[in-house]
Symmetry: C2
Subunit: 162 residues, 2 copies
């Protein structure tokens, strides 16, 4: 890849390919923790969430607070999930832009309670919220140095950094 290509179209760098929406959803279904961002007024809020793909949306549980309030306002949000495939030495990332919607319909709540969706933390999270997608994009790319992706810091070269 030449510097010129990189400058004109950085998303088409060597080893990067876009995922089809179907592939992006399939990968999203394989994971259980993603990150949700939305505008919290004067700044952006970013949280990890434990989710499940349900009815073509990203469903999660929450306690009363910022996320539930945001869902009542149908706030635009972005959700991201990523993973690593050791055999292929490739990582992928899926980004969903959409809006938050509270689950208020009683029959939907009854169904949602039966889903295997466990909150990340054990505090009470009685409410269900959906990310209703407007756009789903995904990319897969070869990992430059797999050890940096899969392993946590266990001493060695990074000790010289702060």
């Amino acid at each position: 890849m030449s510097t010129h290509e990189s400058r004109t179209n950085p998303t088409q760098s060597e080893g990067v390919r876009n995922l089809s929406p179907e592939d992006a959803w399939d990968r999203t279904r394989t994971m259980v923790v993603g990150r949700l961002a939305f505008s919290g007024g004067d700044r952006i809020e970013l949280f990890p969430i434990n989710y499940l793909v349900d009815r073509g949306t990203v469903l999660f549980r929450t306690a009363p607070g910022t996320k539930l309030a945001a869902s009542m306002e149908h706030l635009p949000v972005v959700f991201e999930v990523d993973g690593y495939e050791a055999e292929a030495n490739e990582a992928w990332s899926v980004v969903v832009h959409g809006v938050l919607e509270p689950v208020l319909d009683t029959s939907e709540i009854v169904e949602a309670v039966a889903l295997p969706l466990f909150p990340w933390q054990s505090g009470e999270k009685a409410f269900f919220v959906r990310i209703v997608p407007a756009e789903v994009t995904g990319r897969q790319f070869r990992v430059a140095d797999p050890s940096r992706w899969v392993s946590q810091f266990t001493g060695g070269p990074r000790a010289s950094a702060e």
Copy 2:
């Protein structure tokens, strides 16, 4: 925990504790991939980034594009990283609010090149950008169902969901 407590102070749910800034930085140093969000004009952009803690900032490499442009504008951003401690069955999340700054000083660039900071993907990423923190918060919490956190979907109960 009563419902009342949950409503008045959801961050103090059972099993959740706040991390000191020092602890939050220590945990951030153990990971290599986090997620960066900032306003992209009409919507929020959210990316995974391969990072390193350096000089009290979160340093990453990037190609010309959205993130580099955002750094030139010193855009406010939020960065999140999380992890799981199997022995304790606890997960943690650190959130850094701050601004993006490009690394333009030649001696800083020379130093940054020597750091063990490998881009997530193998495309050329010639520029260094820092997240200069304004606020660092961290939380640790007991995982309700550890299998939902550590394992990928491999069939079983979730097959009934979409």
